[in-house]
């Protein structure tokens, strides 16, 4: 995770365009100033960041399914459940899938685990909007390469 840049996903392990599923890894850093305040003597990942990590996982899945033609923007979070603490240094495995593709929006769901233990889950809705700026798209391409976005799912233009 690059918490300072709000890039919470480290690696894409599997992206299945046909099944509309993705599996990613997110390594929680062993130290960070966030843990100094959250909480002193009991450092844990904030639930909002776990939710963001799930949202980013769903976002990469949608980018793959839409072949980077649109950018998913967070619109709605439902049933966000923090089921267990996530500590510094732990490795999150996040699975996400598309529940529904609507007109200009998509509903997804995600589950994050440490080992086999389910730590959090949510249903997350996105608005799907054409990239508002070419530089934004270029940036997303660069991040996609960095986290191992499967080449066959990348656009060829």
């Amino acid at each position: 995770m690059q918490l300072d840049y709000f890039i919470l996903i480290d690696r894409i392990l599997d992206l299945n365009i046909e099944a509309k599923t993705i599996v990613v890894e997110a390594q929680v850093p062993p130290t960070h100033t966030i843990f100094e305040g959250h909480f002193p003597g009991f450092p844990i990942m904030p639930g909002v960041l776990l939710t963001e990590a799930m949202a980013q996982s769903c976002g990469w899945l949608l980018l793959g399914v839409m072949k980077f033609e649109r950018m998913p923007f967070l619109a709605m979070i439902k049933e966000a459940k923090m089921r267990g603490f996530v500590s510094p240094g732990q490795l999150l495995t996040i699975e996400a899938k598309i529940e529904h593709e609507g007109s200009g929006f998509a509903v997804t769901s995600a589950k994050a685990r440490v080992g086999k233990e389910l730590k959090c889950s949510a249903e997350i809705t996105f608005r799907l909007i054409p990239f508002p700026d070419p530089a934004f798209r270029v940036h997303m391409d660069a991040v996609a390469n960095k986290i191992g976005f499967p080449l066959q799912a990348m656009p060829h233009d």
Binding site: M76, H100, E101, G102, S103, F105, T125
Partner: protein, 97 residues
């Protein structure tokens, strides 16, 4: 079996916490019921699921923005129900439906 309008009205009432008896076929989803675009995403999701369709919200919005249609044609509930019935009929008439 309840009518398309009744199903839509029930979805709106539940999704937006609007008293069911205030929702009529003449209600305009935006102007009368005050449903915003985010709530309408939720409603669209529920309608898509309930009827097995994909409401073409972007196409409708574009038509309104281009002056080719009015919001009343899509967002007055009796008209929305008619559009949904058309979408369901088209789906059932398509090969493989």
């Amino acid at each position: 079996m309840s009518s398309t309008f009744d199903q839509i009205a029930n979805i709106i009432a539940e999704t937006c916490d609007i008293p069911r008896d205030t929702i009529t076929p003449e209600s305009h989803a935006i102007d009368d019921l005050g449903i915003d675009s985010l709530d309408f995403l939720d409603i669209a999701f529920a309608i898509d699921k309930a009827f097995g369709i994909k409401m073409p919200l972007e196409k409708w919005t574009q038509e309104v923005n281009d002056g080719k249609a009015t919001t009343e044609q899509y967002f007055v509930l009796k008209n929305l129900a008619a559009r949904i019935d058309e979408l369901v009929a088209a789906k059932n008439a398509s090969p493989g439906a």
